[in-house]
């Protein structure tokens, strides 16, 4: 009789195999009194040296088998293990009569608890690192081996209390079909590494090491977070089919990696990514994007206690520009207000913040603050193809005012002898019903459009998707939203400017043919959606897309639209 356990779906995919219980070594010890403190310190130092050497070797291996970023976790362990604060604490404890083992456990536990008590995810991760190095050094002191996953039978489902970075360094990737742990969430090391290795993983399954028996057949459903022990024939068959389908889909998508984004009849499009901070840029490039279609600059402001300086902003923008190596980077200027609160700006609470003092309205009213951002953007434009995007535009006057400010900043920078791109593009985030209605007017003065479908849908349908009672109206399949999108794209194309989309709708394969029919050029999506969207674009020729568009745009209701698009889906 099978049994099913639920956990955290931390790494996608379905693994079927035999359970291998990785039981951690018994690291218990009897504390003993120490006479010769110097000798005991030397014993600790020796264990530490061996640990660091082994860890360094693991980090080197990891660079090849897992990736640079993950290898850095291991290198970080060496730094932590050699931290003067930790070493001092341990030496002091040994001087006080503790044996090396007890000194290590007491001192590291003290630091671990300090980190655990902090209200910050990053600190809690450091606590896990400290626990990991404690295990490693303690094993050295006691002459025991830590869990070794370097040699495993094919099709192993690794069942372990916690998958530590040091275990994953040596893991026999080819033979691991899945991972089950008793602790850890989606942001834990185990999860990050399982995803990097593309091994299906379900974490935080209580008592997994007790419930799953060595050698038992186990299914790891990393999509839904299920672990099935001893499945029956029917289940095995069902999951095997799902595993095959998943692998097939993934494999099929891989065919689109490194390829240009083209329609079925060879029309070239741009596949871009949306990012929220400079580090995301690298992830986006790793996911094979060709540009950044939306860099939300708010993180710079929201993570700070006061307005970030021109230099701070410049550094962040420059980092993204250089990461993209000359490919376009569209940076949206501060989009404050609405649901994004920045305490130090001391904005008054409004009855209707989405219709209130936000985004470009705030920025134009605080031109001195806005100029700091514009100057930083201009300076960064000397290092790549940075484009300025203005959010929440509702009338051409706003665009003109922003462009005037940009010109003022250019003059200032030129006088200061600073470099910038003279021809920097200034475009509009098309996200209001007003902007959609006057797309023809705006297209004459904007350098590009990028459609923000999240707000455009909300404003057009006058529906808040967070409000359960009206969320049913929040859908881009409503003819009102589709017409707004069409008007924006068609008018932009008519004026010969680039039109892109950076809202979630850009990654909806059902909408792809419509967007292609209207002539949209750039699709900006989240990193994991890049290949999927590239595939969707490749399925449609202009003629096929036009035929579907003609049919769909005559329909009256969202349900009819969605049904027609689903029927035609490729």
């Amino acid at each position: 009789m099978y049994s099913m356990y639920e956990g955290v779906n931390a790494s996608e995919g379905i693994g079927i195999g035999k359970a291998v219980l990785a039981v951690e070594p018994d690291l218990s010890f009897e504390p003993h009194a120490v006479e010769d403190a110097a000798a005991e310190k030397a014993r600790y130092q020796q264990a530490l040296d061996v640990f660091c050497k082994k860890t360094e070797a693991q980090a080197e291996r990891m660079k090849v088998t897992v990736g640079e970023n993950e290898a850095e976790i291991m290198s970080g362990h060496i730094m932590l293990a050699q931290d003067p604060g930790l070493v001092d604490g341990i030496n002091t404890a040994i001087d006080g009569g503790s044996c090396a083992e007890k000194a290590l456990v007491d001192t590291s536990t003290m630091f671990e608890n300090m980190f655990l008590s902090m209200d910050d995810e990053m600190f809690r991760l450091r606590a896990a690192d400290i626990a990991d190095i404690r295990t490693g050094i303690l094993a050295e002191l006691l002459g025991k081996d830590v869990v070794d996953l370097s040699v495993l039978p094919a099709g192993s489902i690794v069942v372990v209390h916690d998958l530590t970075p040091s275990m994953t360094a040596t893991i026999d990737k080819e033979n691991v079909a899945g991972v089950v742990t008793e602790v850890g969430g989606r942001t834990s090391h185990s999860a990050i590494i399982a995803r990097a290795l593309e091994i299906p993983a379900v974490l935080s399954v209580p008592n997994a090491c007790g419930a799953l028996l060595n050698g038992a057949t186990v299914i790891v459903d990393g999509i839904n977070g299920h672990v099935i022990n001893d499945p029956d024939e029917e289940m095995l068959e069902d999951y095997q089919k799902r595993a095959d389908a998943f692998a097939e889909e993934k494999h099929a998508l891989e065919a689109y990696r490194g390829k240009p984004t083209v329609t079925a009849d060879g029309d070239k499009k741009t596949l871009a990514c949306n990012i929220g901070n400079p580090d995301d840029a690298k992830t986006a490039v790793d996911h094979d994007c060709e540009a950044i279609g939306l860099f939300r600059s708010e993180f710079l402001f929201m993570d700070a206690k006061e307005l970030p300086s021109e230099d701070e902003q410049f550094e962040a923008y420059r980092k993204v520009a250089t990461t993209l190596k000359g490919a376009p980077v569209i940076i949206r200027t501060l989009d404050v207000g609405g649901d994004k609160e920045i305490p130090y700006l001391k904005l008054q609470k409004e009855d209707n913040p989405f219709m209130g003092y936000r985004a470009v309205r705030y920025c134009l009213d605080n031109a001195d603050e806005y100029k700091v951002q514009l100057r930083a953007l201009l300076r960064a434009s000397a290092f790549g193809d940075i484009k300025i995007m203005v959010p929440l535009v509702t009338c051409v006057e706003e665009l003109r005012q922003v462009k005037e400010l940009v010109e003022t900043c250019k003059k200032e920078l030129a006088e200061e002898g600073r470099k910038f791109n003279e021809n920097i593009e200034v475009g509009i985030m098309m996200e209001t019903a007003a902007a959609a209605n006057i797309a023809d007017i705006l297209a004459k003065e904007a350098d590009f459009f990028s459609i923000g479908t999240n707000d455009l849908t909300g404003y057009t349908m006058a529906s808040d998707r967070g409000n359960d009672k009206v969320a049913y109206l929040y859908s881009w399949y409503y003819p009102a939203v589709l017409r707004a999108i069409k008007n924006i794209i068609v008018n932009g194309v008519k004026e010969g400017i680039m039109v892109g989309m950076c809202g979630e709708a850009a990654a909806d394969p059902l909408l792809t043919p419509l967007l292609l029919s209207w002539g949209m050029e750039e699709f900006s999506v989240s990193a994991p959606s890049v290949l999927k969207t590239r595939k969707a674009i490749s399925q449609w020729s202009k003629a096929d897309a036009d035929a579907l568009e003609a049919k769909v745009m005559q329909l009256d209701t969202a349900d009819e639209v969605k049904a027609a698009l689903m029927e035609a889906a490729r």
């Binding site: 931290d83 003067p84 604060g85 001092d88 630091f111 300090m114 990053m122 206690k305």
Partner: protein
């Protein structure tokens, strides 16, 4: 031994990155470096101890340097803290 009081201006306090930066800068000096807050004393060369101390923005800390290159170390430490430790 030389010492000087200086106020921490990092918006997030002595967080991971600034703590690491401070400790590694201090590691280049041979003298002992201690950071003293109103309620604790921590090893200024230890990123872990500095982070674990969780010193918030606006705290006045005393930096104590003791050893051969203490004057140089103290000047460097004060300068670093005043400049916001790269933040």
């Amino acid at each position: 031994m030389v010492s000087e009081k200086v106020t921490l201006v990092n918006p997030q306090g002595l967080h991971m990155r600034p703590a690491g930066m401070f400790a590694s800068a201090m590691g280049k000096f041979s003298c002992d470096v201690t950071v003293v807050t109103p309620d604790k004393e921590v090893n200024g060369k230890s990123p872990m101890a500095l982070m674990a101390a969780g010193i918030p923005c606006g705290t006045e800390v005393e930096v104590r340097c003791d050893g051969a290159d203490e004057a140089e170390a103290l000047a460097s430490a004060v300068e670093l803290i005043k400049s916001g430790l790269g933040e």
